[in-house]
C-alpha cells in the first residue's frame, strides 16, 4: 500500500474497480467463470471478506467467529421474505440491522480481551450460535432442514401474482436469479468497497490502525480504543450480515452450517490470501477461492483422464489418482495446501506479490519495506 493515496488516485481505483466488477461477465468468460451463480458468489464473498478485513486488517483483531454474522444475516433475510414478501431490499436492510445488533452484543463482550483470547471468545460465540441454531432455536431456524420460504407464508407486501409465483426474490418485477441476481449483489459489493475505501482513508480508519499499532499510546493520547474497536466490529458484522442476506436472494434458504467455524476459517483464508489490510486483496482472495472451489470440486476422474491423456499409460494412472486427491471431494485438501503455501511463502498475500512484481518491473531498488523494517535501535 502506498502511504500517500491522493483523492484522485482513490477515485480512479474506485471507478476501475466498479467497471471491472460490472464487466466480469465479459472478461471472466475465457476462464469459464462467467456464469451468474459463480459471479454472484464472487460478489457476495468479496463483500464478506471486505468487511472482515476492516476489522482484521485495520485493528489486527482476528475474529474466528465471523460466520455467525453471515448466518444471522441469512436467517433474517429469509424471515424478511417470509413476513414481508420477496422484495430483497427490505430483507437485506433487516439483515444488516439484525447482524449489526448481534455483532454489537458479541463485540461488547469479546473486545474486552485481545490477542488469542479475543479469537477464542469470538469462536466460542459463533459455536454457541451454531449449536443453538441446530437445537433449541429450531422454531426460528428450522434446525437441520434449514429455513426456507413457503407458499403459505404471510408475505404481506407481495402482490397476488407474486404470492402465486415461484419463490425467488423479485425487485421491480425482475426475478433475482441469473444476471439480475448478480448485478444486484455486484451493486452492494461496489457500495461496500466504496465505504471500505472511505473508512481506510478517514480519521476513523487511522484511529483503527492506531489501535493495531499501539493501544498504550492511544490511551495516553486521550483516545479510548474500545468504542473504536466496537464500532468497526459492528460495521464488519453488518457487512457479513448483508453478505448472508445476499446468499438468500436467489435461493431463499438458510442453514446453520453457514455459521460453522470452518466457514469463519474460510473468510480468514480469503483475506490472508488476497492480502490483509489492503482494499482489493480480500476481494481478490474471495474470488480466487470461490473460483477454484467451483472448478476443482467439479473435476472427476474422467476429466482428469482426459487432461492427462497425453502422458504415457504407465504414468497416467498414478498421476490421475494423485491429482484426484486434490479435486472433487478432495477440494479441501487443495484449500489446505494453498493456505499453507500462502502463509509460508507470501505472508502479505497476493497484493504483496503484485507489489513485489511491480517494483521489480519498475526496476527500482528503492524498497518501501526497508524503511519499515529497518532496525530502529
Amino acid at each position: 500500500m502506498t502511504s500517500n493515496p491522493t483523492p484522485t488516485r482513490d477515485l480512479a481505483v474506485f471507478v476501475i474497480f466498479a467497471a471491472a466488477v460490472l464487466t466480469m461477465p465479459i472478461w471472466l468468460a475465457p476462464i469459464g467463470a462467467a456464469y451468474p451463480d459463480l459471479l454472484q458468489k464472487f460478489a457476495i464473498y468479496g463483500l464478506f471478506a471486505t468487511g472482515f478485513n476492516l476489522l482484521f486488517g485495520l485493528t489486527g483483531y482476528l475474529s474466528f467467529g465471523h460466520a455467525a454474522f453471515l448466518g444471522v444475516g441469512s436467517y433474517t433475510a429469509v424471515w424478511g421474505f417470509k413476513l414481508l414478501g420477496m422484495n430483497p431490499v427490505p430483507a437485506a436492510a433487516m439483515a444488516i440491522v439484525t447482524s449489526g445488533l448481534f455483532a454489537w452484543l458479541i463485540g461488547y463482550v469479546s473486545l474486552r480481551r485481545s490477542g488469542i483470547y479475543f479469537s477464542i471468545l469470538t469462536l466460542a460465540f459463533a459455536q454457541m450460535s451454531y449449536n443453538l441454531a441446530y437445537s433449541v432455536l429450531t422454531p426460528i431456524t428450522n434446525g437441520e432442514t434449514g429455513l426456507r420460504v413457503l407458499q403459505s407464508d404471510p408475505r404481506i407486501f407481495d402482490t397476488a401474482a407474486q404470492s402465486g409465483g415461484p419463490l425467488v426474490s423479485t425487485l421491480f418485477g425482475i426475478e433475482m436469479s441469473g444476471y439480475p441476481g448478480f448485478y444486484f449483489c455486484a451493486t452492494f459489493l461496489i457500495l461496500g468497497f466504496l465505504v471500505a475505501q472511505r473508512i481506510f482513508r478517514s480519521p476513523f480508519g487511522t484511529m483503527l490502525r492506531a489501535v493495531k499499532s499501539n493501544q498504550n499510546r492511544m490511551n495516553y493520547t486521550g483516545l479510548n480504543p474500545r468504542p473504536y474497536t466496537l464500532a468497526v466490529f459492528v460495521i464488519s458484522g453488518m457487512y457479513a450480515g448483508l453478505a448472508g442476506a445476499l446468499l438468500c436472494i436467489t435461493d431463499p434458504l438458510a442453514g446453520a452450517e453457514r455459521m460453522q467455524w470452518t466457514a469463519s476459517g474460510e473468510v480468514v483464508l480469503m483475506t490472508i490470501l488476497g492480502g490483509v489490510g489492503t482494499l482489493l486483496g480480500p476481494i481478490l482472495g474471495a474470488g480466487i477461492i470461490k473460483y477454484f472451489e467451483n472448478i476443482f470440486s467439479a473435476f472427476n476422474e474422467h476429466i482428469l483422464q482426459d487432461i492427462f491423456s497425453f502422458l504415457p499409460e504407465a504414468l497416467q494412472g498414478p498421476v490421475v489418482s494423485i491429482s484426484g486427491l486434490f479435486v472433487g471431494e478432495g477440494w479441501h485438501l487443495t484449500l489446505g495446501v494453498l493456505f499453507m503455501i500462502i502463509v509460508i511463502l507470501l505472508p502479505g498475500g497476493i497484493m504483496e506479490g503484485v507489489g513485489r512484481i511491480t517494483s521489480m518491473v519498475k526496476g527500482g531498488s528503492r524498497k518501501k519495506h526497508q524503511h519499515q523494517t529497518a532496525p530502529a535501535e
Binding site: 482476528l62 488469542i116 471468545l121 437445537s135 494453498l338 499453507m340
Partner: protein, 342 residues
C-alpha cells in the same frame, strides 16, 4: 446423589481426552511459543493408527469349505484373519487387544510425525506472529484430515474394546447405591486410568529429569534459557514430539468410546483450545484441571433435568464457561500475565 455421581464419572473420560490434548497444546505453546491448530489432527492421526492396526490385523484369509454350502448351494466361504490362521490363539488374543496394542504402533508413528512436523514446518514459525502460526497449522490440519478422509472415507469406523473390558461395571451397587443406576463401561475406566497415567508420566518427566527442568525453565522464561547457551532447538523438537505422542495415544485409546472419523480432531481441537484458554495459556496444571472441569460440566449439562430448565445448555456449556472465565479471570484459571495478549 447417584445421578450426580454417574454424571461425574461420565464427564471424567471426556475430560481425560480434553486434558491430554490440552496438555500437549500447552506444552508446545509454553516452550515453543507456537499456537498449534494442528494438534487436534494429531489426536485424529492417533485414532487412525488404531484403525490401521486393526485393519491390518483383520486382513482375512478366505477358504472355501466344501463340506458346507450356502443357501444358494455354493460352497461356504470361511473367513479367518491371517493372524488367527497363523498364530492361532495368540493371534486371536492380539486381535482382541488391537486397540491397546496399537499404542505400540502409535508411539513411533507419532514420534516421527511430530519430529517431521516440527523440523519441516513449525520451526520456521517461531518468530512469526501468532496469527501466522494459527493459519499455517490450521492449513496443515485441513491437509491431514483430508488425506485421512481420502484413505478411510468419511464415515466413522467403530473400534471394539478388548472383550475383557467391553462390559460395564455396576459402580453404584459397589458403592452401596441401588443396583443398575450407576453403570459405567469398563473401557471408560480404563481410559480414565490411562489418562491419569499419561498425565502423571508427563508431569514426572518434567519434574524429575534434567530435560524436564530445562523445559520448565523455558516455559517460565524463554529468553533467559535461550541465553544460557542450552541447545534449545533440539529440545523444542523433542517437546513437540512428546506432545504429538500424548495427543496420538489419547486418540488411540478414545476410539472404542467414539468411533473416529476424519474430523474428530477438529471437533476436539476447538474444545481443547477453549480448555487451554480456560486453564490459562502456558499453565500445565491449568490445562489438566480445565480439561476435567469442562468434561464434567458438559456431562452435567446433558442431564435431562438440567436441559428441562435450560434448554440447549448441553450444546453451549463449554463455550459459555469459557466466556465467563475469560471475562472474570482474563488469563484463565491458572494463567500468567501478559501471555498471548498482543
Amino acid at each position: 446423589m447417584d445421578v450426580i455421581l454417574l454424571q461425574l464419572l461420565n464427564g471424567l473420560d471426556k475430560g481425560g481426552a480434553y486434558a491430554l490434548i490440552a496438555l500437549g497444546l500447552t506444552l508446545i505453546f509454553g516452550t515453543l511459543g507456537v499456537v498449534n491448530f494442528a494438534h487436534g489432527a494429531l489426536f485424529m492421526l492417533g485414532a487412525f493408527c488404531a484403525v490401521t492396526f486393526n485393519k491390518f490385523l483383520s486382513l482375512e484369509k478366505v477358504v472355501l469349505d466344501p463340506t458346507k454350502t450356502t443357501a444358494w448351494g455354493t460352497p461356504m466361504e470361511v473367513r479367518t484373519p491371517y493372524v488367527e490362521a497363523y498364530l492361532g490363539d495368540f493371534g486371536a488374543w492380539v486381535l482382541n487387544y488391537s486397540v491397546p496394542m496399537s499404542i505400540l504402533l502409535a508411539i513411533p508413528v507419532m514420534l516421527i510425525i511430530g519430529f517431521a512436523m516440527e523440523r519441516g514446518l513449525i520451526k520456521h514459525f517461531y518468530n512469526r506472529p501468532h496469527a501466522d502460526q494459527i493459519l499455517v497449522t490450521f492449513g496443515l490440519a485441513i491437509v491431514l484430515q483430508e488425506i485421512i478422509k481420502s484413505i478411510y472415507g468419511a464415515n466413522p469406523i467403530p473400534q471394539l474394546a478388548p472383550s475383557a473390558v467391553s462390559g460395564a461395571a455396576d459402580v453404584g451397587a459397589f458403592l452401596g447405591f441401588d443396583p443398575g443406576v450407576i453403570v459405567y463401561p469398563f473401557w471408560r475406566m480404563v481410559y480414565l486410568g490411562f489418562a491419569g497415567l499419561v498425565i502423571a508420566a508427563v508431569f514426572a518427566f518434567l519434574q524429575f529429569t534434567t530435560f524436564g527442568m530445562v523445559v520448565r525453565a523455558g516455559m517460565a522464561d524463554r529468553e533467559t534459557v535461550g541465553l544460557l547457551g542450552i541447545n534449545i532447538e533440539r529440545r523444542f523438537t523433542i517437546v513437540f514430539a512428546i506432545a504429538a505422542v500424548v495427543a496420538g495415544v489419547a486418540g488411540v485409546m478414545y476410539t472404542p468410546i467414539l468411533p473416529p472419523d476424519y474430523h474428530i480432531g477438529m471437533d476436539f481441537l476447538v474444545l481443547s483450545f477453549v480448555v487451554v484458554v480456560v486453564g490459562g495459556m502456558g499453565s500445565l496444571p491449568g490445562a489438566v484441571a480445565a480439561g476435567f472441569l469442562l468434561g464434567i460440566l458438559q456431562s452435567f449439562a446433558s442431564m435431562n433435568e438440567v436441559k428441562a430448565i435450560l434448554p440447549g445448555i448441553d450444546q453451549i456449556i463449554i463455550y459459555l464457561v469459557a466466556v465467563v472465565i475469560l471475562l472474570v479471570r482474563p488469563r484463565g484459571l491458572l494463567g500468567r500475565k501478559g501471555v498471548m495478549e498482543s
